[in-house]
Each structure stands twice: as structure tokens, then as C-alpha cells.
Amino acid sequence: MIAELGLAALWLAAALAGLQLFAAVIGLIGKGDDAEGAGIAGLVRPAAIVQALLCALSFGALLLLFARTDLSVLLVATNSHSMKPMIFKLAATWGNHEGSMLLWVSVMALSGGLIALVERRLPVRTMIATLGAQAFVGLGFYAFLLFSSNPFARLAEPVAEGQGLNPLLQDIGLAFHPPTLYFGYVGLSVAFSFAVGALLTRQVTPEFARVMRPWVLGAWSFLTIGITAGSYWAYYELGWGGWWFWDPVENASLMPWLAATALLHSASVLAARDALRAWTIMLGVVAFSMSMIGTFLVRSGILTSVHAFAVDPERGSFILALLTIYIGGALVLFALRANTVAEGERFSILSREGALVVNNVALSAILGIVLLGTLYPLLTEAFDVRVSVGPPYFNPVGAIFFLPMMLVLAVGPMLRWRNDRLERIRWSAIGLLALPVALAIGLGISLKIDLLPLLGMALSASVAIGSLMPLRGRALRRVPLATWGMVIAHFGVAVALFGMSADTAFQKERLVAARVGETVQDGPWSITLKSVEPVAGPNWTAIRATLLASYDGGPVQESHPQARSFWAPPQDTSESALLTRWNGQLYTVLGGEAEGDRWQLRLWWKPFVTWVWYGGVLIALGGALALIGRVSGDLKRRRAQARNIERRSAGDPLMENPA
């Protein structure tokens, strides 16, 4: 019954999306003066709200089916198990292809409903066009769900027990990994709808940018958290201390992030200065395209990985078709309309806008390189030529654009809008630009470091100082929340950059076969193998080492790396053990037994590696603060306006009607 209810709600929601699109089209064709057209267009908002409720109902139904482990439903039977803890039963709802697509659609419908309910700032026609675009995107995903990935399909005969969830995915971090990224992707789809709506009605205004900005900020913060968490997971799970592999799946999440970062900054320019109009629209289209390409890469089965739930060519083609329709359509619309969108306000190159243009151009170029490096091997493989594109390509080629961008980031935030004078900022700018040069030369002479980490470290110092410059000479309590957000996010970039560079430059690796009782040196650590003993878990056995580690002769800490063997399915994994200090981590892994009663140990001293993720968290926190600051500012303004209207209407009747 619940499954049928969920499916019916989903069909109804799809029908309402159809109505919403139809009403929007009628509303846009009619000039709004004939009463019938206006009446139908009036259906757009209610349709979006009811659609959101129906979608939420449908997703709720699927959650309930998983909570009860209803084994007559195919999806539950293949992805859950009655003995699983409740949190993983619920997480299993989106830990599979169908459920995750339903989550996507539901979040999208809820966003649409929210916009329809609260957003009153845009012109009526732009709102109608935006919600129409949203319905158009939504319809594609409804069709995808209902025709090729029905989550509510029943089994002819209920099974006795479910097949369980991939044990690799039974991890509390991974339970929240897909929703985090999906919130990001969906937020970008909302930005896309706003961009299409504004393009359709040629209303690319600062107001439009202010309305779109919270969605971009939210999406961007979620993507930042998703990428940071994914990187840490790869770091401790894979057992070799690497935190970024330029793997296509990682790139699939990085590309929307790069586009969203650029969009965020160009939307700021549009909101504050009414410049970069067409460019902001273009980025809105690109950002959502990257989410779609990411979804396509990850879900089509082109890449074999833990993310490709179902290697099903039909689904791959479906996503590809949707991608072509939306992106192709949006680009055609852009080509037709871009020249009718006036260029916007002008500015000098030495201005906040000028710096943000450099940011946008550099981010777009990096995005282009990541896209190229990710897709190129797939393209050549179609012609039976296998090419490897990896870190030795991405790192230097990306750095060509990344490092100059960091220089501009150090100086940019202290520039004024529109036009700044060189004399005003000369000394701070020279200081900020000379600092990395001096540091690079100093570090390069005193320590032997590779060029890229050296430049990275030098620049991170500039960016850190530069990021705090906007606070200079201001009463800290008066600084708006959105500015704090910017400062913290930029500071986070410096922290992350320093972590990446320092770890690359100074990491110390020791691979040894040690006897029990033997002491090994790794950088400042001395590590003693105290004992090795067998341990057993619920579905694995393991050997566990006890290591006694002391940093620079300090107090002794214990570390327990394990080599695990799972028996169902049979799989060997190494569970690394980490000792964290403020200035880095000791990463220990127990390998197999070696000859002569020795044990293989892999030890890494990774200076400042944790700063990579601290930086990521700071960046996301900055985004969240800016979001809160912007939204609360908007609400305050709205209340003030409402009060004004009230006052005027309650005012002296003589004033209103002086005649």
C-alpha cells in the first residue's frame, strides 16, 4: 500500500510539473493583459508548492518502506537487510541508484516550492519563467525515474531476507555523503533555472543576482563539505596517505565546485555593481552542466567504481539525453539572447571587479583543464587508444592558472569597487606580492623543495595575510556577517593550500620490516613495535599491531593499525591508524608478515596534512556565514518595507488624498 501511495504521489508530482511548465509557457506567451492567460499563469506558484508536497510524500513513503524493511519491494530487497541498524536502513534509501534519484527530484521540488512560497522580489514574468524552467528540468528527472528507475517496483513474491548494503558503504560518513553532494547539485539547478528565467525575460539585474546568490552560496558550501569529506575518506581508507588522486569521480565533484566558485564571485559583481551580466548567466548554465556531466560520469557506468550502482547503458543514455536537451537548449537560448542583454556597468582593471574577472577567468580555465583531462581518456578509449592522465598532468597545468589566481586573491579583497587608485594600495600590495617572492627564495635556498609546493607555501602566506586585510581598521563587531564569511573562506583557502604544499614537500615515508621490540625513526618520531595480536570483529578477523610512538622524545602514544580480512565478501583491507598533532599526523599501516618474524610497517610523518581539511571546513563555514548574512539582511529589508507600507496605508487620509 505504501509503495503504491509513493508511486501515485510521484506520478501526480510529475503531472503537476507538467501543469507548471504549461502554465508558465502560456503565461509567457500571453502578454499578461488578457485575463485568461493571467489566470493560467497564476497556477504556476501553487503548482510548484503542491508538487513539492507530493514529492516529499513520495520520498517519505520510500523512507518508511526502508525503515520497515518491506521485502516485497524490489529496491528494499536488493539494498537492505532486516538486521541492519536503523541509521543504515534509512541511509540505504539513497545508497542506490533509484533512491538517490528520488532524493534528487525531491530536493529539487522542495527548492521549487520554497521559491514559489517566499520569493517576491523578482518581476512576475521572470518568476514565471524561472519556475517554468524548473518544471522543465524536473520533468526530465521524473521521466527518468518513472520510466527507467522506478524505486517502488514490487516483487511478484516477497523474499525472506534482503541482500544487504555494500559493506564499504556502511559508514556513517558515507551515509551523509550523497545527500551533501545532491544538495549542492540541486542548488546549482535552481541557479540554472533563475539564469534561464532571467534570460527568457531579459531581466538580468542586480536584483536577480541577489535572489540567486543564496542558492549558489548554499550549493557551494554543500559541495565544499562533500569534497572535503570525500578527500578525508580516501585518505584514511586507502592506506597510502594520499588525499587527492585526480580520479574521474573526484573530478566529477570538483568541476561543479569550480564553476560554482566562479558563479558566486561573478554574481557578487552583478549584485553590487550591475556588471558582468551575460557572463553570470553563462556561468549559471555551466555550473549546472557540470553537475549533470558529473552525474552522468558517475552513474552511467562509464567509470567502474563504488559509485556506479548499476552499470546500465539505458540509464546512461537517458542521462546523456537529458544533458543534451538542457545544456544544448540553454546554450542555444544564451546564443540567441546574450547580445540583447546589455553589457552592464563598466569598471577599471584596477578595481574589485577587475580582480574578480581574473578570478573568474582563471577558475574557468582550470575547469576547462580538469574537464579536458577527465574526458580525454574516455574519448580516446572509444577509439581503442588508452591514455593515462593523472597528477603529473593536472598539477603543473592547473598551477599555471591557479598560482596567478592566488596572487590576485591576496590583493583583490582590499581593492575598491569600480575604480581604485594605485597610490592608495601601493604599499600593502607591494608587501603582499613581495612576501611570497622573498619566502620562496628563502625557503628554496634553505630547504630543497620542489617548485610547486614551494610556490604554494609562499603564496599561502600572502593569501592568509591578504584575506584578513578587509578587516583592517574596522570595528570588528560592525563587520557584516557576509564579509566575515568572505574573510573566513579566503583564509581557509590559505590554510588548505599550506597543508597541501607542506605535506607534499615535507612528508617522510618509512617502509620497514620490523621485529617486535624494534624501534624505527620516521622524521621526528621514534616508533616501537610493541606487539602484534589477532583480533576479531562481527564479520572480519584481523591482526592488530600496537605501536608506541613518541614525537621528538615527548610522551609515548599508542597506535593500533590493523590488517583486516572480511569473510563475506572475502576482502583484505588495511585499517590505518592516525596520531594527530596540531602540526600534522603520523600515519601508520600494518602490512603482512615478512621473513624472520618481522612485520611490514608503513609509516608516514605528514606535516600539516590536517590543514588541508581544516581549510576545507573553513571555506564551507565562510560560505554558510555569508549565506546567513545575506538571507537575514534580505529578511530585515523585507520587514522594513512591509512596515513602511503599513505606515503609509495607516497614515493621515489627507496625506494620501491631498485633493
Partner: protein, 134 residues
């Protein structure tokens, strides 16, 4: 003796299943004593692809085959071979796919031409902006 056999078998490229049963080759999980040589080996290993993993170099993989390749790299470096010669040997054996090192060839030239075009485009856009606004 056993290590010698293992080494010999690796060189003969026995079927993968048989390889998995053997203990790892000695230099799969052991560094070279000379830090300079080890750095050389490490730099090379970071640019060789583990053929049985997803986007990992042989320097960070637990796959037995990656271990054997590390052993190859370290023993050859220790014997004084040039890293690029070892890479060439790997490429000859496993195909160009094994090397992450970017090289311009008939099948990879767009990877280098397109970023150059991007740089040109970026400089063009910025110079246009500069000229018009200044």
C-alpha cells in the same frame, strides 16, 4: 631461494592468479638504503599507473601487481639504471597506458594544445578588458 624464485617468476610474467599466491617481492614494501636512490625510485613510481586499480599510482596501491612493479623499479634503480629507461621498459611491456607522465604524441597532442589555446584566450580576454576599460 624463495625470493629468488619469486623474482624469477615475476620476470616471466606468470598468470596473475599464481602471482597473488606468492609472498610480495622483497622491494615491494622495502625502501632502498640510499635515500637519493629511494627518492629517484619514489618519483618514478608516482608517475607509473597501477594497472589493476582505479586512478592510483603504483606508489600508493596494495595490489600485488603494483608491489611487483615497485620491486622492479627499486631493483633497477639500485642497479644504476636511468629512471627514464625503466619507464621505457614499462611502456614497452604494458603500453603507454602505464605512464602518467604527460608526453606529446599522436594520441595526446590535444591535451597540450588545448591548454595553450586556453592561455591565449585568457590573455586575449584580459587584454580586451584592459584596453576597453583603461
Amino acid at each position: 631461494m624463495r625470493t629468488f624464485l619469486a623474482l624469477l617468476l615475476t620476470l616471466l610474467a606468470v598468470p596473475v592468479v599464481a602471482q597473488d599466491m606468492l609472498p610480495p617481492a622483497p622491494y615491494a614494501y622495502q625502501q632502498l638504503d640510499d635515500p637519493a636512490l629511494e627518492t629517484q625510485a619514489q618519483n618514478l613510481m608516482l608517475t607509473l599507473r597501477c594497472l589493476k586499480c582505479q586512478s592510483q599510482s603504483i606508489a600508493d596501491s596494495d595490489a600485488p601487481m603494483a608491489g611487483d612493479m615497485r620491486h622492479q623499479v627499486r631493483t633497477r634503480i639500485a642497479a644504476g639504471e636511468n629512471p627514464e629507461a625503466i619507464r621505457a621498459w614499462m611502456v614497452e611491456r604494458y603500453g603507454a597506458y602505464v605512464s602518467y607522465k604527460p608526453e606529446v604524441s599522436a594520441s595526446t597532442w590535444p591535451l597540450f594544445v588545448i591548454p595553450l589555446v586556453l592561455i591565449a584566450l585568457v590573455l586575449f580576454v584580459l587584454s580586451q578588458r584592459l584596453r576597453r576599460r583603461a
